[in-house]
């Protein structure tokens, strides 16, 4: 990361009417512990490189759909392979199967028309999350239907980011999460994910979702759907 691309800018701090220590005193204590009087910027020694070969568990050229499907199912998600033409139909069938009557949506990559068509076919009422309390809406619906900005094959992970078309609640609050992932958005390994983001223009929230919500706090017995969804179904669009 080129230091000059991201200069340290002073003065964008919390307004100093809050209690707490001033930044300079705090930093001075850190510098003293490090044995110096001024911040060493950039560091004299470079940060050790993340050894791709050492930690990669899925080759870059691995078949993403096959690996993702296996891993996602291993962590408790259910995966169905669809094509762009039968997506709407298959989604409608799924909605019917899971007896979904109400839903919230967070989708942009998949043409919204297809999702709407499926919802109409299955007679599902969609709540509008664009209002003042978009998050609150998600509490009262059967399912959240979202696409995923990316997915990771090696761990069976969905990557859902917040933006003007994607609320955080849809993939978190309702008891069922239906995620639509395009083949082209599946990366092999966690190592490959970060290239998709610009560190200076991050979304406010990136959620890496690897399975249904779970806990084993009570005597080590596994229970699903503690806070987040207990059921996650992924539709992989294999021809996009």
């Amino acid at each position: 990361m080129d230091e000059h691309a991201n200069p340290i800018r002073p003065g964008h701090m919390s307004d100093n009417t809050y209690p707490g220590e001033d930044r300079e005193t705090f930093m001075q204590r850190v510098r003293t512990a490090l044995g110096r009087g001024h911040t060493q910027s950039p560091p004299q020694t470079p940060v050790p490189a993340v050894d791709d070969h050492l930690i990669r568990t899925a080759r870059r050229d691995a078949d993403p759909v096959d690996l993702f499907t296996r891993r996602a199912e291993e962590v408790g998600m259910s995966v169905r392979l669809v094509t762009s033409t039968d997506l709407a139909g298959r989604l409608a069938v799924l909605l019917d199967e899971l007896k979904i009557k109400t839903a919230v949506i967070a989708a942009a990559k998949i043409p919204i028309g297809k999702v709407n068509a499926a919802l109409a076919e299955a007679n599902v009422q969609v709540l509008d999350v664009s209002g003042a309390d978009g998050f609150d809406c998600s509490f009262d619906v059967d399912a959240g239907i979202t696409d995923a900005q990316a997915a990771i094959a090696e761990s069976g992970t969905l990557v859902c980011c917040a933006d003007s078309l994607h609320g955080r609640g849809a993939s978190l609050v309702p008891p069922i999460h239906i995620a639509i992932v395009r083949r082209g958005d599946i990366v092999s390994d966690l190592l490959d994910l970060w290239d998709r983001f610009d560190s200076t223009a991050m979304p406010s929230s990136i959620a890496l979702i690897t399975g249904p919500s779970k806990t084993a706090d009570i005597e080590g017995e596994l229970v699903k759907g503690v806070h987040g969804p207990g059921t996650v179904v992924v539709l992989v669009v294999t021809d996009e």
């Binding site: 990361m1 991201n6 340290i8 002073p10 964008h12 701090m13 919390s14 307004d15 809050y18 209690p19 220590e21 930044r23 705090f26 930093m27 204590r29 850190v30 003293t32 490090l34 911040t39 910027s41 950039p42 020694t45 940060v47 993340v50 050492l54 930690i55 568990t57 962590v75 967070a106 999350v129 664009s130 998050f135 090696e154 761990s155 917040a162 003007s164 978190l172 966690l190 190592l191 970060w194 560190s199 200076t200 991050m202 406010s204 929230s205 990136i206 959620a207 890496l208 690897t210 249904p212 919500s213 779970k214 806990t215 706090d217 009570i218 017995e221 229970v223 759907g225 503690v226 806070h227």
Partner: protein
């Protein structure tokens, strides 16, 4: 007055003041003497069964997972790499802190600096006051345990609910967490059933799935109404100004997305340089803790909601906390701050497995607690902790960032001795021992006396030799007298032979 978590008086009515008894458990009177709690833990059959099962299975699954997926040489290399990246971040913490603060601020986060626990709480209380917060939902954070945040918030009239299921139960039951990652391994389903019936007026059930659903329903209503969400932070990414939290339940995402204001409490040592570094740390964190490839939810947060975002907190605050970390940051002890709070050392430690978390008398327990707690709270206050170890090194082998815990245990022990913090009888014993070993005559006399004594005991009390026993001729001693009785409570020792090794060597090798 410290309350033993196993006694029923721990659930005495402290109505409307969640956590009062619980926090006493983690903040006992100082200097802290480990023996009472350790003894009661080893004598408690339920605690023994639960802690043993939980830690052993997690330790085994950690090893199995890494070996199957990476193999031992790669596992070691990964630990080395992860450790060196954290070390680099610590060695240049000034630079990375400044980079983090600038990037977080650029994304709209308000960054605060807290020198100590009091300041950290004061900042949070002020935020709560300004927003007139009445209800706060909180995800797991060790740092907030350090600062005793929850009672402070309750004190200004802001009801504060722990949402991690284990922490929620522990809070409800006026108890304290006993493990960094799985806070209620010491508790059984009956205790949970009773607590829910008593505090939530729920119908009595001991079924874990039903109990979990009762908690889920209760907490969902809280998420909806909460005006403040508090989280900790597993990692702070300097390059982007992001806070990363890892949970399995999803409560972390709720606490940081539902309320209008989010406050993250994070120790300064959580900094890592780049987003890319998350690849290795995330891959190691969940596997080291529970053998999973990743936790179910990893939430990377960079600033409050953007104007165009559909939902998310309107304000995001990060309180960067020192609270003793800059002392540990000094070169001799800096490595301790690599800790990513995975709990692997707790699961590997044979001592933790016997005494459980509460016996350590502090927020941080287990092997990492045994070195961090004396640093944070004063060695004189916690001199029992570095001594509560056999130096087996299991913790070092388990640590994903290769913290040499045995090295620091020994270092702290030598500081205890050097600072004359050990008691008089210890000092006299060691002094006498050293004198005896230094002189050839006293050494030989000591050895001879010891041999005669053991052989006498063997004649009086020796157990019969067992079939096929390599020591059949000499026999075993199954009970030593007096102060050394403890050694033979669970093990036998072989009777020493008639000749010492040196004597035998001299006799059989006289022609050399």
């Amino acid at each position: 007055m410290p309350v033993d978590s196993n006694s029923s008086s721990a659930t005495a009515a402290h109505v409307g003041h969640h956590g009062a008894t619980g926090h006493d458990i983690l903040f006992p009177p100082l200097p802290y003497d480990i023996h009472r709690r350790a003894d009661s833990a080893t004598a408690d059959p339920q605690l023994q069964t639960f802690v043993n099962k939980a830690t052993l299975s997690k330790d085994q699954i950690r090893k199995k997972t890494f070996l199957e997926i990476f193999g031992q040489p790669s596992y070691d290399a990964m630990r080395e790499l992860a450790g060196s990246i954290k070390q680099h971040a610590l060695d240049h913490l000034d630079h990375y802190l400044e980079q983090f603060v600038a990037n977080a601020a650029a994304a709209g986060t308000q960054v605060h600096f807290a020198a100590d626990a009091e300041q950290a709480n004061a900042i949070c209380l002020e935020i709560a006051r300004r927003h007139q917060c009445r209800l706060c939902v909180k995800s797991k954070s060790m740092v907030t345990e350090e600062t005793l945040l929850v009672p402070a918030l309750q004190g200004i009239g802001c009801e504060t609910i722990e949402t991690d299921l284990g922490e929620f139960i522990v809070q409800l039951d006026h108890d304290a967490p006993s493990h960094i990652v799985t806070p209620m391994i010491h508790k059984d389903r009956t205790a949970v059933a009773r607590a829910f019936q008593r505090e939530l007026r729920a119908r009595y059930t001991e079924n874990p799935a039903e109990l979990t659903m009762i908690a889920r329903q209760y907490l969902r209503e809280k998420y909806r109404r909460a005006d403040l969400g508090i989280s900790g932070g597993n990692f702070l990414v300097a390059e982007s100004g992001s806070v990363v939290i890892c949970t399995n339940e999803g409560n972390g995402r709720f606490c940081t997305s539902a309320p209008k204001v989010h406050v993250a409490f994070v120790g300064i040592e959580k900094l890592i340089p780049r987003l890319d570094d998350l690849s290795i740390f995330l891959k190691m964190l969940a596997r080291s803790a529970t053998g999973q490839p990743l936790t179910v939810y990893t939430h990377v947060m960079t600033g409050p909601k953007r104007d165009a975002d559909i939902d998310g907190p309107r304000e995001m605050h990060i309180i960067l906390i020192d609270n003793g970390r800059t002392e540990v940051l000094r070169e001799e002890t800096r490595e301790m701050l690599r800790c990513i709070r995975c709990g692997a050392c707790l699961n590997a430690c044979p001592v933790y497995r016997k005494i459980g978390g509460h016996a350590y008398g502090a927020v941080y327990s287990g092997p990492i607690g045994a070195i961090l707690t004396p640093m944070f709270k004063g060695l004189g206050n916690f001199k029992d902790l570095p001594n509560a170890s056999s130096l087996c090194g299991a913790c070092y082998e388990a640590c994903p960032v290769k913290i040499n815990i045995p090295h620091f245990l020994i270092k702290l022990r030598s500081e205890i001795v050097g600072g004359r913090m050990n008691n008089l009888s210890d000092r006299l014993l060691m002094r006498t021992w050293a004198l005896m070993l230094r002189n050839v005559l006293t050494y030989r006399l000591g050895g001879w006396t010891q041999k005669i004594a053991f052989r006498a005991i063997a004649r009086l009390r020796g157990a019969a030799a067992k079939q096929g026993d390599p020591y059949a001729e000499r026999g075993w001693i199954d009970m030593l007298p007096g102060p050394v009785r403890g050694w033979t409570r669970q093990r036998d020792m072989p009777t020493p032979p008639a000749r010492s090794f040196r004597h035998w060597w001299d006799q059989t090798h006289k022609d050399r």
